[in-house]
Symmetry: C2
Subunit: 326 residues, 2 copies
Amino acid sequence: MKSSQPTMKDVAQEAGVALGTVSKVFNGIPVGESYRAKVEDAARKLGYQVNQYARGLRAGSTSTAALILPGVSHPFFAALAQYICTALARRGYRMLLYVTASNPELEQNCVNMVRQNKVDGIIGLTYNPLVVDEDLPFVSIDRSFHPDIPCVAADNYGGGRMAAEKLMELGCGHLAFLRTGSARPGEADKRGDGFEMACRARQVPYETLRLNDGADWERFREFFRSHIKGGRLDIDGIFCSTDLMAWKIQGILEAMGFRVPEDVQLIGFDGIRRFGSEELYCSTIIQPVQKMAETSVDLLLTKDRSNIPALICLPVSYAPGGTTRE
Amino acid sequence: MKSSQPTMKDVAQEAGVALGTVSKVFNGIPVGESYRAKVEDAARKLGYQVNQYARGLRAGSTSTAALILPGVSHPFFAALAQYICTALARRGYRMLLYVTASNPELEQNCVNMVRQNKVDGIIGLTYNPLVVDEDLPFVSIDRSFHPDIPCVAADNYGGGRMAAEKLMELGCGHLAFLRTGSARPGEADKRGDGFEMACRARQVPYETLRLNDGADWERFREFFRSHIKGGRLDIDGIFCSTDLMAWKIQGILEAMGFRVPEDVQLIGFDGIRRFGSEELYCSTIIQPVQKMAETSVDLLLTKDRSNIPALICLPVSYAPGGTTRE
């Protein structure tokens, strides 16, 4: 049942591009996006095994990278794992997956295991400073924990600002930023910073409530109760630090008798889709997960490591998802 | 920042069990479930690196298994990947992840790559017959494609029967089974078989509509329109082949002016939770994903392969999720 192996020539013919373009794509050399898409579609269609070719070029390497994540059951992590796996495969790399449940000791154990396992590099979304071999490339996602280790993240600050500006544009005059999350500092903290800056710049009044993980949702009910004036909520636009939180806050508001988006508009952050591929949960600032994955892989496999940036923030975008008036 | 490595003795002390019990657990030898849980909790707490020990016992093995999935962005696959990764790590194995987008050629290419990569075994959720080395253990999830390759699945037949019986118990007198999915035969097809059997056994009238992937949802609207008698739907209980489908069908019914669960009750299949860990989408038959993962790993690493079953069906359970009267 084994099919005959297609060649790069077959891919070039199928894609309608020059052989050199195919070679560039398979070796991670930049070409126009439309060419790359054509070559990848053709390679997929023909079942071309990129790694056969790529491996020859990297004699001595293990052709293996490790991905360390807290887990893959949250849809953001699942999408990240899928895109990183695909981006690595395109470059001829296989991917070892490690899950840590965000436990600091497990995270260091993972890195130790990975060191023993002799991989070419690590991409990690971890919560703690880690001991990493200096000669082992490491790319961190969402957390800048060492100046020598590049961090790839969404433009969290710009996303927070975008949420505030969108709410103002949609007519909101009294905003709020609500947050739950890890007490450990991370790139995501900048969402609130960008939001507050935008409110101050336009002199629009705003409230903030930041709680750590495991927060009692009753605290948010109290917050809303304290903002009821004459039977109405005096806040008309809310930015939540994640889509999960926006979804929970929507439930709390509706249970209190307020309508979303008629009485109060809500914007989340992440761009999570139901069942991984269906509708958004809420109006939201979408993280460019695929670009984050591809950028992480590009950085990891860059040969010249003398000029690696400390932080790369990738552009986010706004999408309406039913919890705003557009 | 490297912590001193805990020993098996430390784990035994922490768990309050004998050293031999710890050894058994780390080597996959059956012990009572409560002992296993104690040892695993202690190992996790101490950050014990199981693989240090296990690797010594398996000199010559690669301590690596491959997982082949269509993707990990669907929450069912994400949960499967996470549990398999964790179960392998507990046995001292690292996991290579491959994603195939259900493309038959990519699936065979994956298997070919895995063969070249010299792993100890493969767990795969694939859609096609594959060429696999006879001496390379392979465990298939959800698809029985070869009598010599063990398949691990939920009890799909029993789940379909359970859905029908639950709807009858909740007062439904005219049932329907709706399905979309792959045209390729698979274990999931048995959901409808079990449902129909239960309806026939109790002589309760039922309808069925089975469409392949990419089906036009208009077909389901037509189906419902053809079942409106005197302004009311003459079907009062529906079993959908997946939770995703139940969620879509609920939207269609509500848009047509029918109330769920007041006018018509709905049961899905899978047990998908919003954001990977929150509420169910609908009343549903829950697949035992963690047990499926652990059973697959146990089968893969079994040394005596002379008596491997062809199919293992693990028990499902019903949970109300708002689309039934309980």
